[in-house]
């Protein structure tokens, strides 16, 4: 999936002509070349952002915006991310990527509304949009005042994106533990404290945030979850996953669509780089907020610094990283499930362009790690059956991927027991579900040769 951002065309260190576009030798030397007209439309004056990034001063404001929005819209249509009957929840962190994704989804919605009102038969409904903000105060109690201000600001921002009006859901991350907030907050802190590794703790919190987003989406009737992940974030993820031994599940995380979850996740900004996104925010006056809890530590931080260093040396490096990872084989769940189409009118179905994802096509069922939801490499998952009679914590250990086992699960038996008791019910039930599933998986493969019914099998 080529990132055809303007940045990829020019000044690569070793002259990569990756997407067949012209090599413009001058553009890499900081500050950009100073054409007097936009290189695309050749009429307007080019924008200069003065941020020292590449391709500064080449495009006019309109062409720049259209380029970014164009990539967003292409991703949405070719992967059937948002269709008229959908109810879409946009995850909003206050950062620039999710701000842009919120803005673009809003603009798509406005357009759909306009078409709806203008059409005679009103056959195509307008998709619904809601916004979710995860409140992490429980994990970072010291940041409470900052968080309160942030929520205020988020409320205001969402209220401005109307009409069409959008519901805002402020989701406390501890809500996955239940509705008793004091108890839930306590359990969250105990859970996080029992993780010995800093990077593991950070990653566990990310998994919990995703669970809370899934919870609010499912409970409020949304059928799509939009994340603002951009190329740059995905490039970092490729490296962190590699470095944590998560090479098998990597291809599941970086596609446009991730339908492993109850509410499928879509990434419409996947082909846009952070530089474009921050420039767009500047151009359109989109305000953002940077929360202190978003700073990284350990391995995640090291990788971010590494990517920043690589970017200095070659501004298209992020794109190359993502392009390489995109050549890995995705999973069967990396596209919108076909069954969803039953709600979509025939006319719309025909209009949808679907990319044919190159994967081996076999609908293998995968087992998933209960903590990170990563597909497990069957060859190195332990024999779950040997833990039939074992304790819950042993079963948990066997069910997890090797990366979670190392960086999230506590190493000694009693701490593991405790940890297990703090986990949200959803994750524990995943463990049991997985055990049953592997039997079901085997049965599925051979059932046409089985003579006896299930109950009769010894």
């Amino acid at each position: 999936m080529a990132c055809n951002s303007s940045g990829c065309e020019s000044g690569c260190y070793d002259r990569e002509k990756d997407n067949g576009s012209k090599i413009v030798d001058d553009a890499v030397s900081g500050g950009g070349n100073h054409e007097s007209v936009c290189v695309k439309c050749k009429c307007n004056a080019p924008m200069t952002f003065g941020d020292g990034g590449f391709d500064d001063g080449r495009f006019c404001a309109d062409c720049f915006r259209n380029n970014v929005f164009g990539k967003f819209r292409l991703a949405v249509t070719s992967h059937a991310m948002i269709t008229p009957s959908d109810n879409v929840l946009v995850a909003f962190s206050g950062g620039s990527s999710s701000r842009v994704s919120l803005q673009f989804v809003h603009e798509l919605q406005i357009k759909a509304l306009k078409n709806y009102e203008a059409s005679r038969d009103r056959s195509l409904p307008v998709f619904g949009v809601g916004v979710a903000f995860v409140d992490e105060t429980a994990a970072f109690p010291a940041l409470s005042p900052e968080m309160i201000d942030a929520i205020e600001w988020v409320r205001y921002t969402v209220s401005c994106l109307s009409p069409p009006a959008k519901d805002l859901h402020v989701v406390p991350v501890e809500s996955i533990f239940g509705s008793d907030s004091l108890d839930a907050r306590d359990r969250l802190l105990k859970l996080l404290d029992s993780v010995p590794d800093d990077t593991g703790k950070e990653d566990l919190l990310l998994h919990l945030k995703m669970l809370s987003l899934q919870k609010v989406a499912a409970e409020n009737g949304y059928n799509r979850l939009v994340l603002g992940s951009c190329t740059s974030r995905i490039a970092s993820h490729v490296l962190t996953a590699t470095v944590k031994g998560r090479g098998y599940s990597l291809s599941a995380d970086i596609q446009h669509v991730d339908a492993r979850w109850k509410v499928p996740i879509v990434l419409p900004l996947r082909d846009c780089v952070r530089l474009e996104i921050t420039r767009l925010c500047l151009l359109d006056g989109l305000k953002t907020v940077e929360l202190a809890c978003r700073s990284q530590c350990g391995i995640n931080d090291l990788v971010s610094s590494f990517v920043a260093l690589l970017q200095e040396e070659n501004p298209s490096r992020e794109c190359t990283i993502v392009r390489t990872a995109a050549k890995l084989t995705p999973f069967y769940f990396n596209k919108i499930p076909e069954t969803d189409d039953s709600n979509v009118p025939m006319a719309t179905q025909r209009r949808l362009k679907r990319f044919n994802l190159k994967y081996d096509g076999s609908m293998t069922t995968e087992a998933f790690c209960p903590i990170c939801n990563g597909p497990l490499n069957r060859s190195d998952s332990s024999e779950l059956d040997t833990f039939e009679e074992g304790q819950e914590s042993d079963v948990l250990y066997a069910a997890c991927c090797s990366s979670c086992r190392f960086q999230i699960l506590p190493q000694d038996g009693s701490s593991l027991e405790q940890f297990s008791s703090f986990l949200p019910d959803h994750m524990i039930s995943q463990v049991k579900h997985q055990k049953v599933d592997s039997q079901a998986y085997l049965r599925e493969k051979i059932k046409d040769c089985l003579l006896l019914d299930d109950e009769e099998v010894v």
Binding site: D18, T242, Y248, K358
Partner: protein
């Protein structure tokens, strides 16, 4: 460990065992880079050698009676490799005939010094030595090449030439297999490099412990899971004779980025090096990924996927005073209809996109 560090270690461990983690008998003298266990010297030698033995056995790297050449540069990896392999060969009766094979690239002040080390190794380990030089094979030394092309792309020339030189040397020695001292750090760096540079074809091959089974000489890397730091530690404690300078022509290698990053990573989480290798092994890469079709070079008969092998292309460039020939993407080489460089996408990319750095494998 300096006495200051020892004191610190002792006071930190007040109350904890002050004995080797593994044998519980002797005083620990080092912290094992791979596992951070505090162990004594003897136990270190034991785990180090045993782990390598297990890698050899589990991956079935050798068969009894094979003639095996050890790629020997005189550096720490190949010196330790020669030492350990001859030791394990004796101890576990692998039944191998071992040789040292060294390549003289013609780098004054670097290779001539390290070759002296290899000659000493020949005597110390009792392994016959064969030296193959670029001057004899190609008519050019790296000194000559760098004089002509400078310090950019020089690693590309050296890497391509070395690969062929090793194969030719192996043929001269009539060996069945070549072993190289590539260690876990090297392989982890290569995995990262291939991700950074978009080389999916190489990414799928670079974690294989044995390569080139369908070529002239299969090669394997017994040190695939061995940490560079542990190799250094082993050489240090055993007081092995090796040459420890970086190649004088390599300051600009892109691999340096990956190397620095891995060093930082190792400090936070030592097992990450093995995790990178694991990821590399687990990447879902379709086996239908375009692999080059194997043929032979028209000029020299060496294995090649193009009409001319890469070494011949580069040599032709050097001899004609066109040092850029064969470097970078093929854009239709001027006036060289003989070349007819096909453009099977990833093949050209994988051969030519390497600026400098490692052996082609």
């Amino acid at each position: 460990m300096s006495s200051g560090e020892k004191m610190e270690a002792k006071s930190k461990k007040a109350g904890a065992s002050r004995l080797c983690f593994l044998c519980n008998l002797r005083r620990p003298v080092l912290k094992r880079p791979k596992t951070l266990q505090q162990i004594c010297r003897e136990c270190f030698y034991e785990v180090f050698e045993e782990e390598i033995h297990q890698v050899i056995v589990q991956n079935r790297l050798f068969k009894s009676g094979e003639r095996v050449a050890i790629g020997a540069s005189g550096g720490k990896d190949s010196t330790v490799l020669a030492y350990v392999l001859s030791e394990l060969n004796r101890r576990h009766n692998y039944g191998l005939d071992l040789f040292l094979l060294s390549i003289d690239e013609g780098i004054t002040g670097y290779r001539d010094d390290s070759l002296e080390t290899v000659k000493r190794n020949e005597v110390q380990y009792g392994l016959p030595l064969q030296i193959v030089s670029y001057k004899d094979l190609y008519g050019w030394t790296m000194d000559d090449i760098v004089k002509m092309i400078g310090l950019k792309n020089n690693c590309t020339f050296c890497g391509v030439f070395r690969r062929q030189a090793l194969d030719r040397g192996a043929t001269l020695l009539k060996v069945d297999k070549l072993v190289t001292g590539h260690n876990a750090d090297d392989i982890a760096e290569t995995v990262l490099l291939n991700i950074l540079r978009g080389d999916i074809a190489r990414l799928s091959r670079c974690t294989s412990i044995t390569t080139g089974e369908d070529g002239p000489i299969p090669r394997c890397k017994p040190f695939k899971y061995t940490y560079e730091k542990e190799i250094v530690m082993y050489a240090y404690f055993k007081k092995l004779d090796y040459f420890s300078t970086e190649c004088i022509y390599s300051p600009n290698a892109y691999r340096g980025f990956a190397r620095e990053f891995i060093k930082d990573l190792e400090r936070i989480r030592p097992r990450a090096i093995l995790d990178i290798i694991k990821s590399g092994e687990d990447f879902r890469i379709a086996t239908t990924t375009k692999m080059p079709e194997q043929g032979t070079c028209e000029r020299c008969g060496y294995i090649s996927s193009q009409k001319w092998c890469k070494a011949c292309v580069l040599l032709e460039g050097l001899n004609r005073g066109l040092p850029k020939m064969g470097i970078g993407r093929p854009r239709g080489v001027n006036g060289d209809h003989k070349m007819e460089i096909k453009k099977p996408g990833s093949v050209a990319k994988s051969i030519e996109s390497k600026q400098c750095g490692s052996l082609d494998f």
